[in-house]
Structures are given as C-alpha cells and as structure tokens.
Symmetry: C2
Subunit: 223 residues, 2 copies
DNA sequence: ACCTGAACACCGTTCAAGT
DNA sequence: ACCTGAACACCGTTCAAGT
C-alpha cells in the first residue's frame, strides 16, 4: 500500500531539497554579527553568505525582526543548564546571572540584539524559570522570586549593554569620549564624578557587575 | 569704526538667516518619535517635518547617531534638578531613579533611543553626578557610590526597555505573545513560571520597578 | 553662510515565474 | 516544494551648485 520505497524520504518525500535551513541561517547570522557588527547585518548580506537569493530568507523568517529574535533566543542556549551541586542559593544566582552576561557578551552587539527583541523562546523561558526556581528554593514567595528574577535580568541586560558600548567605543579609538571624560573631570560642574575618575575609567566590568549583583542579592535579606 | 548699525545682528551679521536650528530639530525629532516610533524616524521624514532638504540636516548632525544622541541627552533635561529637602538618602535615590524611568518612558521608544546611544552630554553627566553625590552623602566611599550609581542606572535602563517593549506589544494586539504565555503556563516545562503567571502577566510596572530598586537600596546596608 | 537638487550605494519586503 | 529574478518603495550620506 502507498508509494514504493523508492521515494527519497518518508518525512520530505517530494519537491526540491531545501538549499538552506533556519538553524543554519541563524548560525551564519551570528557569525556575520561577530565579524561585522549589528549595523552591517542585513538580509542581503546574510543571503549572500548563505549563497541564496534575498527573497528566500522570507520563507524562513517573516521579517528581519524574526531573524533577530531567533538569534537572541539562540544566544541563551545552555544558560539554563544544570547548576553545580552543594552550592548556596547566592552562588547559584551568581552563576545564573554570570551565564546570562557571558551569553550576551559572547557575540558582538549581543546585548543590543537581545534588548531589541522581546525574546520569548524556550531558552529564555527555561532560563527565567530556573532563576525563579532558585529564588523560591531560597525561601522567597512566588511573587517576590519572580520580581527579583526580572530585576536581575534587567540589571544584567542594562549592564551588558553599557559594557559592550564601552568596549566598542574603546577599541574604535574613543574620539569624543575623551572630551566627555575631560568635561566629567571638571571639578566645578561634576564634583562627584571628578573624584570618581578612577572608577569611571575602569575597564574592570566584572567587578562592576559583581557589585550590582551583590547589591540585589544582599537586598533580599533572606534568613 | 566698523560697520554701521544697519547690520542685522552683531552675532550673525552676514549670510542667509538659518532656516533650521539644532535645538528645534531635536524637539521636532522627539515629536516625530512619539507619533511614529523609532523605526519610522528617518532623516528624510525629519527633513520634511522641518521643511528642509535632507542634506541640510548634515550641517547640524554629522550622522543619524549624533541626532539620536542629542535626543537621548535632551530626554534627561531636568533629571538632575534639586531634590526635596528633609528627606532620607533612600528617598532621594528613589526620587532620582524614578525621574530617570519617567524621562525614558515619556517618549515612545525612549529607552531604546537612550540605550542605543552612549550618551555623555551635560544632562547625563549631571544626573550621574547627583546620584553619586547622594550615595556619598549617605556614607558610601567614592568607588562604592559610583558603582552603585551605575547599577541603579543600568537596572533602570533594562527595566524601562522591557516595560516599553511590553507596552508596545500589548497595544499592538499581542499575537505570538499569548502563545508564548501559553507555553509558559506548561507546568511540565516551566513549573516556576506557571506558578508565577499572575506576576508575569501583571502590568503593574511601577511595583516591579520599586521591587528591584528596593533590592539595590537594601543591599547597601548602610548604617 | 546656508541651503537646494541630485546623485550614490545601499536597504527590507513582495511576488510572479521557473524547476 | 523550494528557489530565482526582478521590482517597489524606501534608506543614510555626500557634494557640486546656487543665492
């Protein structure tokens, strides 16, 4: 009964074999992002890199926004993975927040891509679910755990956005940045910033991140 | 000596009177932003709104990025204004963070505009200086005060980014958003998120913001 | 001094037609 | 079923020429 076994495959039995696949396209898009940056990531350049016509991309992604959302989602792969055992909830929260920061930093303009898409895929959901779970296990009621998880994610996103902006500004030869710093050092106008020059010009972003994250964790004051 | 008093003005005595001025252009750009959103804010549309040719804009802003930076800077006008007297440092920090959130929310896509420009104008510098000042007055050493100020700004930026994204998603008829929520309610895959459905779907962004900000403030544990 | 007009080198998106 | 080829309606940016 049915067609003979000469049909090419039971899952995709007829028509031309696909020249491109969505997962591969996302991987190529992330490579292009790393090489050229977000502003240079166009549908046309992606099509060229995939050796395909531009229109073909719209068979897999309805809009460029959808492509970016798929990229943002892909970035979080693995962030919700198993946590080291025998650790305190504070260490687990620190681990999870660190994973998110690392995931966004791993790709050029990663934070901008993530911030620009309201990502709601399984990787993002799993990540948030895991973070809320750690906070509930620490003794927080559901609402407090959820709001705290969002606060941690929002802080991490904002921090990483600035960290990447600062990094790109630094290795692009900081033109107006030094002028602004000079203005900041004006003791009359910005007395506090001028005292803080060392901290402001510091590139120890890990310490800056740890400071903010510790504030959030300490603020919970869980017994 | 010199030209007679018939010359039009001592400051701009010769040539054609300017048809546009940078401050007016920024104000118009912010109005366009509110009306059409960031994606529709193009140099060409701004030129049309100003009744000027596109090229003329490049006399005042070297690039579109410069325009966006000027808009971001303008948004923070007044945020560093005098603080109410006779208040605790906690109340002052809350006031300042609330002003930043309000400033970013005041314009459509305001957070996205601010996040996309590494703003370093006087309004931004004054704001940060004021926040650092309040934290130092509360007893924090300079480095801790500065890092805390950045943490507060980064959290506020991240929170506001998500708040505006959620708001635009809500009044654009949330298409895939309900699907994602449905997935989140899958108790097998996201046990914690499904318990937190009420908090996740809440539109009480002010409470969400206050929660995160209080965490940061409590975390300081200043005597 | 300031603006116009026109061009250059691109974009995202759509869709008939091919195989 | 999947892709090509070509078009549509735009972009940001530059620059000679006008007044």
């Amino acid at each position: 009964m049915g067609t003979p076994s000469t049909s090419p495959s039971p899952q995709r039995p007829r028509g031309r074999p696909p020249k491109m696949a969505a997962p591969g396209a996302v991987a190529t898009a992330l490579r292009l992002l790393d090489e050229e940056g977000l502003d240079a990531l166009t549908m046309r350049r992606l099509a060229t890199a995939l050796d395909v016509q531009v229109g073909t991309l719209y068979r897999h992604f309805a809009t460029k926004q959808d492509l970016l959302a798929a990229m943002a989602e892909e970035m979080l792969a693995g962030c919700a993975g198993p946590l080291p055992e025998g650790t305190t909830w504070q260490e687990q929260v620190t681990e999870l927040a660190g994973r998110l920061r690392a995931a966004l930093l791993r790709h050029r303009d990663g934070a901008r891509v993530y911030a620009g898409t309201h990502a709601v895929g399984p990787n993002t959901l799993s990540y948030t679910d895991t973070l809320v779970g750690v906070l509930r296990a620490a003794g927080l009621p559901t609402q407090a755990a959820t709001r705290t998880a969002f606060a941690i994610v929002h802080f991490t996103l904002g921090h990483t956005l600035e960290e990447q902006a600062a990094a790109e500004l630094i290795d692009s030869g900081l033109p107006a940045a030094l002028d602004a710093l000079h203005a900041a050092l004006d003791r009359r106008r910005y007395p506090n910033l001028s005292d803080a020059a060392a901290t402001i010009t510091s590139t120890d972003f890990a310490a800056q991140f740890a400071h903010g994250l510790n504030l959030l964790i300490n603020g919970l004051a869980v017994r």
